[in-house]
Symmetry: C2
Subunit: 333 residues, 2 copies
């Protein structure tokens, strides 16, 4: 493990992106979003995923020259075409537009088809929360889990984000419908660490906390068993319907995911006359979570998103912990 300063990480990402003909302003924003992901402790979706991003550019899956375009408008809902551009830049544009719509109309919904992997989902939820909006967004993915009772992967793990502003940091829920994301499985396998709880089945159909065995069987554990695959299927069909884009069934191509569909919903709390009361209720609920008696004496109960700025400050001060081999590979890109 090496500690890479945030500014250095950003600069390296920018250089690599520009070497792939990414426009200056796009390279700057993309590098910032990816480096901030690692900065905030979501290592699996930051630097550790950057190599995959560059590979997708090199393979022509991502077309760095494309920008998302408005396709049709239905009042608060707009459909955009991602034109197979950079996934995180498309998502950033889509959430920006959803926030604009919400500022005008209380709710804004941007459904995006024909895009690419959006890297860290939480990024776009935080954008909404920082604009005083509730953010709700999800994506479909290629098939990563069998349907309940089935053998072959049929259902995406379809990450869902809900971000809620509070008087201090936003609540941020950012979760795949498998108990562990493939990014988490990969990092545990790479570091030969056991998962904290069972995370899927091995090839013999036994529940296991061995990440590599789960990747081999392609049977990660859905959250809540049958509930996780049901919710994932519903999220897939809804996002494809709203965007007019592809379903999980259709985005499975040679070597990976092709043109997933995403939706970005913003709801502006400033629309409501009782905004202050809403925030007071949210603050009280978060404080009540923290007031829980901890199961283990030295482990105070936190709400999701609460430690984000603590990790950010630590990593800004000390550098971002990064797998040494991965950092060497990034430097060589």
């Amino acid at each position: 493990m090496v500690r890479v300063p945030f500014e250095e990480m950003k600069t390296v990402f920018e250089r690599v992106l520009k070497s792939r003909n990414v426009r200056e302003e796009d390279a700057v924003l993309c590098a910032k979003l990816v480096a901030e992901t690692s900065l905030e402790g979501v290592y699996t979706h930051g630097a550790h995923r950057f190599i995959q991003l560059v590979t997708m550019i090199d393979q022509g899956i991502i077309d760095v020259h494309q920008k998302p375009t408005l396709e049709s408008s239905y009042g608060v809902l707009e459909r955009w075409d991602g034109n197979r551009g950079m996934g995180n830049l498309n998502a950033h544009r889509a959430m920006s537009r959803a926030i604009e719509l919400a500022k005008e109309r209380t709710i804004g919904v941007v459904a995006l088809k024909n895009t690419n992997h959006w890297m860290r989902p939480g990024t776009y939820g935080l954008m909404a929360a920082e604009a005083g909006c509730i953010g709700i967004l999800w994506t479909n993915t290629m098939p990563l889990m069998p349907a309940w009772g089935g053998v072959e992967p049929k259902v995406g793990n379809n990450p869902l984000v809900i971000a809620v502003p509070s008087s201090e940091d936003p609540l941020l829920v950012d979760m795949a419908m498998s108990l562990f994301s493939y990014g988490k499985l990969e990092s545990h396998a790479r570091e030969q660490q056991s998962l904290p709880v069972v995370g899927g089945w091995d090839r013999d159909g036994n529940l296991t906390s061995d990440a590599q065995a789960i990747m081999d069987s392609k049977r990660p554990l859905p959250i809540g068993f049958w509930k996780g695959t049901s919710l994932a299927l519903a999220l897939d069909l809804v996002v494809a319907a709203l965007s007019g884009g592809r379903t999980t069934l259709e985005i499975h191509g040679e070597g990976g995911e092709r043109s997933p569909s995403q939706v970005f919903i913003a709801i502006d709390l400033a629309s409501f006359e009782d905004r202050e009361q809403i925030l007071a209720r949210i603050d009280a609920s978060l404080a009540d979570i923290n007031a829980s008696t901890p199961l283990e004496e030295d482990k105070p109960v936190r709400w999701p998103g609460q430690r984000r700025n603590e990790i950010r400050a630590e990593n800004l001060a000390k550098g971002i912990p990064t797998n040494a081999g991965i950092w060497q590979r990034i430097l060589a890109l």
Copy 2:
């Protein structure tokens, strides 16, 4: 177990409700909704919950004379006050209005505060799907699960429904954020059946499939461990914000739940020029789920909602299987 004919069940419910001064038309609709819930196999939220409904009327928690009223309007989003009326009738009215809004504006959102337990959540998702709309709805509940790492119940199990029309039956996902709802725990405890998988912790902190032990400890297993409580907390804060209503923290009263908040979202597929293509994509995805190789040879893989009409037809023909003791208690109400 007795088999109660659907018409008989409806008639008995109507009689009991009228004896509690429920208006004729309200009694008819309420009885139909509850009996249909059992008819479609969701026994925990149908007849088995009817006694609790009547108890809440007798205790004055539900005011049978009240109807929901429009409080404020923000374009596609309306806030309604449930005025502590009948929970399922309030929810029925709210989803009807969300569908009307969606028919005018593609999306309709009705946020409802100050209501009561809505009985079977899926009922209102099916209303949307039968009107050609995607239905998304959820409620908060009183605290039923500890926050992750905590001891006392702090988080609701906050059921979430997503219903998606297809060319045949709708996909219907109807799930609490605990692996098993309290209704399911109660019925397993009553019939002294072991849960199919571990469903929570006992008083000693061991994972168990003993439903009574889980009810005693008040520590049901959230779906996806920490993910389930995170998602439940987010759903709670969003629904309270949208409705201007109470959070889980605020709806915990003497002996149960007081004035939960709910949201009903409808999205009309008929708004989209490519509606036929959307439905074809949905149908293809559902067919692909059914095309899964089953893990167990004689257990074909189904999608959520697929068996609903099969169960309905069987129960219409043979009568609705009902716990004999519960049916006796209902007859005596």
